[in-house]
Subunit: 581 residues, 2 copies
């Protein structure tokens, strides 16, 4: 059987054949396989392809498929190729390039359709491709070869999977992901916003969103504090000098927001916190007895991303890192990594994520991208590998994924929809301690070079928030929800009891809100569900009479009528345990 | 009797006379009275004036004083004046200017000394000035007329008060202030630092300093939360558009840190938070039932100050404001002001500050400095005055001290050395709601213009920290100290008991530290005093035998030997009450 990549590539040909039949004037360009299917970029001239056009092409593909028995190919001369594709400037350009590189020019034919191609197909499409395993998806604009100076083409995207079931599963997951889109839920839950005046990529957080952020951050801090971390505070600006010394000024260059002051001095807005933290460590000599020093700080860093890359919370200019730097001796690295790993396991476990570990190593072929010598890199990477081994972690190595100053141990979380996200990261750094000449005084009274461990548990609060909102479809665990309980009296005559319930909940430390009976109960229940309040309480005649509450869990849909005191003690218990549901 | 200003001005003449006698080649320029005395700027050519030179001049002033019976003055023509001061280019320049303005040129004479002057002296210096009420203080460099393109002159500073007692009191206070200098104490207490690489005016906060900042901020938040404030979160950057709309782009222009992105867009680092907060308020319509909305955020703002103005924590580029904005209806202003005023009274009362109130109003002669119409200003200032009246506050009015968008109610705190500091501020703003078109939906279902109240309780954490450190000479109240208790075993044999004491203190939630018996007790006590730990415990044989602790209060010097449990319960009580000592 053909690989799914080859099937997808074959379908791009099939799409092109359908287009050529229906739109003889259209000029074909390039059509590769992609992660979920394929696309083909086509110059339709002035013609626009609408949804029904897409449907027709898809139908035509299915009609052609049975006649696509087998691929054949042949090598042709440049002149022959140019003659065949005369009148198509895109193919002409491609032919000239292939010939220019001295490569063979090959044509692939299946059914009645021939295309300039390097091969890689399902050899017998009619046998190997199920006609219900693919679908045309959507149309987008794309510049020829991705260059905005070139003509705009029409890109037709297709989806293709191993089977109809796999295609349906993908469509269902995509539909679910759309419902859970953190930008949509973030607005409905009133967590954050963007303002045209402030700008894209610079989200503003509402009272509810800020409570959510602070609660997450307080949890990370609670886990860190147990391990001897201490908080520090730095400004967001620095003189150029700091980044010249750290090496970021040249290596980070494009992404730095630079400032020239009224006196002509050069400053930057910090893109990371480590160089500042070295200055705090270096304020005085440290005895080996005082090592490790563990600094934590949740603070915003800023990176000048291109505006096309900005969207929701996943790509922002203002990145809140829950950052930490451990300054320690080489023989303390293993213990410190294990402590952090424990924090990561606890934190992500609380939300039901499963974790894999990626050892992000340097690419020896591109040493110019990194600070430090090959020896320093080898030592650091060996140390990380043996830590992962000792921890018996589910890990894999990824050369070329390191930070510029050292290798990383990246955690990949799988969410409730099966998607994988890069989340926490632990990084071993032997380079910055060299650059900043960081030492401790060892048992012999001598200066000893130390190392740094960089770690962010959430990574960035913005990105983690996006992942978490979509993972949980917005219904946070009780301990984390900005509004934990909403109380809905059925009608005005239950208002007094509802008020008493809210007062009692608040008095016990729960974040409770009243939803007054100014609208129908159904409408208010829908609003509570939309706001993703994890628990809501309905009170009517029966509840007033029996001094009970009827509680619905907004995640599981479970309902129960219980005495108020029972609900409160259960809720407080779940908050204390940081229970996920 | 002459006013102290006239006495100080007279002493500037007397200094000039002494200089002319001792240094005939020196060229006199200008010599005014200042807050604590007077100075005279003099061109000594290549000659340097050292400390003993100052002593000689002071002696000579005292010698001349009895002969300074009475001032006389006469008006002279420009030509005559130029002839008298021929060879002195500074006086020549002044004469040309006075004549250019068409003003009279007057010479004042006393003793054998004549100076170009406008008058304002003690008419009979020998009778009106006590010869022990003044002293020459120090020498500094100063450019002619403050312009660095001009020659550098020698500025001789003198101190002068009503009497010797007043002079001595000032000198004693200055000596005390020097001992309490927050830059000196901040380093000894290991609270903050500056780094040459990061830059002046950008302090970095150590673990102890950060704990101190967070504890202060948590106190403010606790007071605010009771009054219904909610926290919000904004980024430190914004597109230019926000400040064009708010009016800051032009009015705040020089002090803005500006950024041009890689795509050529214009951003600024925020110099204040209000425009961002308006965007959060404006994310959705608000019913009158939801008003007021009270947003609080402790966040850094950045202002491009000239580097000559930067020093310690009193003038920084990175200013942490404990900022808040109340969005409310006009008829809610009084209540909201009162709530804030209560917070201010509680907060400053905790530290033993006494407060005066300054009503900072606009200057009608300079309307171009402000946003908004004279009517809006009158309404706002009338409202503030009546609030101050109703509160029966000790207040005074200060025209010209308003913010650009509205009048302020500024609190002036008097510290333990009798110095006055501007601290908290409450500002009524009717202009930004206009600019951003902020409204609520009132009882009639109509849009109603709202107002904003800006308030920072500490003002800036940096400046308040400096004031507080100097006010308390570094010895913070127990609840605020980063290290609350230090435990000092007299010798190694008391180590086990000391460890147990530290463990018990920590277990009860106190921030305790052990000072191991590796050095003499005296040395360790001195270190604890230097670090300004508010309470330290010494344990020796008697304490081990009786299971007690000997505690010394580092502020009052009080000592007592008590059971450990008694110390702990007392300490926890004082922390809970936020007792000042």
């Amino acid at each position: 059987m053909a690989s799914i990549e080859n099937i997808r590539h074959t379908l791009a040909h099939l799409l092109a054949a359908a287009v050529q039949g229906a739109h003889p004037g259209a000029k074909l360009t390039l059509g590769p396989a992609i992660e979920t299917g394929f696309y083909y970029d086509i110059d339709f001239g002035d013609e626009k392809i609408a949804d029904d056009g897409l449907k027709k092409l898809e139908k035509q593909m299915r009609k052609l498929l049975p006649s696509w028995k087998e691929f054949s190919h042949r090598e042709v001369s440049k002149d022959e190729a140019l003659q065949i594709f005369a009148g198509n400037p895109y193919k002409t350009e491609l032919i000239e390039e292939i010939a220019g590189r001295g490569e063979a020019i090959t044509l692939y034919t299946c059914g009645n359709f021939t295309d300039l191609c390097r091969g890689g197909h399902a050899e017998h499409p009619s046998e190997e491709i199920a006609s219900d395993s693919f679908a045309l998806d959507r149309v987008a604009g794309a510049y020829w070869r991705g260059d905005e100076k070139n003509p705009m083409l029409t890109r037709i995207y297709g989806l293709a999977f191993e089977s109809k079931d796999a295609l349906d599963a993908y469509l269902a997951q995509r539909e679910e992901a759309k419902k859970r889109d953190h930008r949509k839920l973030g607005a409905e839950m009133d967590l954050f916003l963007t303002s045209e005046l402030v700008g894209q990529g610079l989200p503003l957080w509402t009272p509810r969103g800020t409570l959510f952020r602070h609660t997450l951050d307080a949890y990370v801090w609670e886990l860190r504090e147990k391990h001897g971390y201490q908080r520090v505070t730095i400004p967001h600006l620095t003189k150029k000098d700091l980044y010249e010394k750290s090496g970021h000024w040249s290596k980070f260059s494009d992404e730095l927001f630079r400032i020239t002051t009224r006196e002509g001095k050069e400053y930057a807005v910090k893109p990371m916190n480590c160089p500042h933290h070295t200055q705090i460590f270096d304020r005085k000599p440290h005895s080996y007895r005082e090592m490790p020093q563990r600094y934590a700080e949740t603070t915003m860093v800023y990176r000048d991303e291109q505006s096309g890359e900005l969207g929701g919370l996943t790509r922002v200019l203002s990145i809140t890192q829950d950052d930490s730097h451990v300054f320690c001796r080489m023989n303390q690295v293993r213990d410190e990594f294990f402590k952090i790993w424990d924090i990561v396991d606890t934190f992500y476990g609380s939300f039901g994520f499963t974790l894999r570990v990626r050892l992000s190593f340097h690419d020896p072929a591109e040493m110019e991208k990194y600070l430090g010598s090959p020896e320093i890199w080898k030592n650091a990477e060996d140390a990380l590998r043996s830590i992962a081994e000792e921890r018996k972690a589910d890990y894999f190595e990824a050369p070329g994924e390191a930070a510029m100053y050292g290798p990383k141990l990246d955690f990949m979380a799988t969410d409730s929809m099966g998607r994988q996200h890069q989340v926490a990261t632990i990084q071993l750094d032997m380079n910055q301690p060299e650059r900043f000449d960081l030492t401790c005084i060892n048992e012999k009274g001598e200066k000893e070079r130390i190392v740094m461990i960089h770690c962010a548990i959430m990574g960035s609060i913005e990105r983690f928030s996006a992942v978490l909102i979509e993972h949980l479809a917005g219904v946070f665990p009780l301990w984390l929800a900005p509004v934990q309980v909403q109380v809905l009296p059925i009608s005005e005559k239950h208002a007094a009891y509802a008020d008493a319930v809210v007062a009692e909940l608040k008095q016990k430390g729960l974040r409770a809100e009243l939803s007054e009976a100014t609208e129908s109960l159904g409408k208010r229940v829908r609003a509570a569900k939309l706001a993703k309040v994890p628990a809501f309480i309905v009170v009517g005649d029966a509840e007033v009479d029996n001094q009970t509450v009827t509680v619905e869990n907004n995640r599981t849909g479970d309902k129960a009528t219980v005495p108020l005191a029972d609900f409160i003690s259960g809720a407080l218990e779940r908050i204390k345990e940081r229970a996920n549901v």
